[in-house]
Amino acid sequence: MSLIVRIKKDFGSFKLDVNFSNEGGVRSLLGASGAGKSLTLKCIAGIIKPDEGYIELNGRVLFDSENKINLSPQKRHIGYMFQNYALFPNMNVYQNIMTGLHSSKELSKEEKINRVNEIIKSFQLEGLEKHKIDEISGGQSQRVALARIMVADPEIILLDEPFSALDEHLRTKLEMDMKEFLSKFAKDVILVTHNRDEAYVLSNETSIIDKGSVVVSKPTKELFKNPEYLSAAILTGCKNNVRCEVKDSHHIYIPEWGLELKTKQEISKDISYIGIRAHNFSLTRGDFSSEVKDVEVVEQPFEYLVRFRFKNQKEDTPKVLWLVTKDTKLDESKIKSISFNEDSILLLK
């Protein structure tokens, strides 16, 4: 199982230049909206033709600008789940799923009916066959879309923001359902999302997409531990990111915070930002401690959000964010010093 993508397309004000490959399993394309994630999926599916490049799926060339190969979407055998699920409103649930088999020449009519019924059962859609698309819930729509894709036996599944059309309270459950479904699907899956939790829960590998290009590709958990790049740190949810100057191999200066840190680990010259996740501060102990000012505590449903500035930090710079669990006793006026550990500093390019 493998997918190789190497494509370029010039949209005038926006340039898509995406490079990645996948060796089975689920890969997230994590990026802000407008970063080019959906365009990448559309290129893989053959809906948009790249200016140049190469796309290969399981050894089959789908697109090769040099050899003028450009398979039609129909011939690519790709299961594409659209953001709004793109179910056909003029057909009922059963007919929608049947379209996935419509063009199959190998199956007899009876085999097609059996296969559709099987799929309907495995996606728990029994009883909904005759329902119109506007009569079913968001979660059911997602299952119909997946069933319609799976009935055609695709070689790869592309999921475009699969949960964005759903109500918040449904997401966690459907994420779990999706995780279970994906673990059974043994082929490649590309998941496009702007949600770091989805990427973390559902994918083994993640590629960060920013302004039309892949910034970094890594196993998902490693990426969250060490994002390496500023854009990756932001997309994986790091809230405190500031410019830094590397003085020498063991000293960094952070102008915005007025802090100089002496590190045990060696710092390479190409580091120009540092990030500290909002959960990684503490009141008690740490490798670095600094006096703080302008402390402000905001109570959130399950956490406190503490906003503060370091002692030498300028007034016009944004406050640092710290999320604390509610079992910690916090008194705004008594927070005088805050500390953090060296291993919680993300060194970013």
Partner: protein, 224 residues
């Protein structure tokens, strides 16, 4: 009353029906293809295809005479092959189709433009042919606009006067349509005949409008 016969009704209906069938398919396909053109080409095509809507019908008629008149190359060639449009009811089909085409084209294009293109993409990635995607997904999901365009075009074709009278004139039992008959009857002071045809015309138009309203009402009922 001796002048009254039902030929104009029959002639108008066959002209309008055939014109509508022609407009239905050409409008559908041109709306589909123009939508996909690059911006500049799209603008130019759009102007050309909409022009008959804003031109005076007599100008449209004159353009048709320039093309299909017996003294002009194409018209002469067709005449030699035994196909006659000038001063013939078939020319009425041409005139009606020419003038009513933009109504179908523009309404359908509007419907196609608000169509969720992801539905077509989804169909293609599922292996459905372009043909299937067009007829079984795009057209059914744009059916309101397409039906509205077709009905409007039919109504316009049925009432066509200017281009028709230029191209096929008025002669009883051969080219007379409802609208040319009304004009002719009034010109000849035959007011009873004119009034009868006015009544018939109003009745037909009312039926068409009622049909549209019933259809729209049904659609709304489903949506709510």
């Amino acid at each position: 009353m001796t002048d009254f016969n039902l030929f104009p009704l029959w002639n108008s209906l066959r002209i309008a029906l055939i014109a509508t069938i022609i407009i239905f398919f050409t409008g559908l396909f041109l709306a589909y293809f123009v939508r996909k053109l690059p911006k500049v080409a799209k603008g130019i095509c759009d102007v050309i295809l909409t022009l008959p809507l804003v031109l005076p019908p007599t100008v449209c008629g004159y353009i048709l005479i320039l093309i299909f008149g017996p003294k002009h190359p194409l018209g002469a060639l067709l005449l030699e092959m035994g196909i006659r449009f000038f001063m013939d009811w078939k020319g009425g089909v041409l005139a009606a189709a020419f003038v009513a085409f933009p109504l179908m084209y523009r309404t359908t294009r509007g419907a196609f433009e608000s169509f969720d293109e992801n539905l077509a993409y989804a169909g293609k990635t599922l292996g459905l042919s372009n043909h299937y995607v067009f007829w079984r997904i795009r057209v059914p999901n744009c059916k309101n606009g397409i039906i509205a365009g077709t009905v409007l075009a039919f109504a316009r074709a049925l009432g066509e006067y200017g281009a028709t009278s230029m191209l096929i004139g008025y002669s009883p039992y051969t080219t007379a349509t409802i609208s040319t008959t009304v004009a002719n009857a009034w010109n000849n002071g035959n007011e009873t005949v004119a009034l009868i045809w006015v009544g018939i015309n109003i009745a037909i138009s009312a039926v068409v409008l009622i049909a549209i309203n019933i259809f729209e009402g049904k659609e709304k009922g489903v949506k709510l």
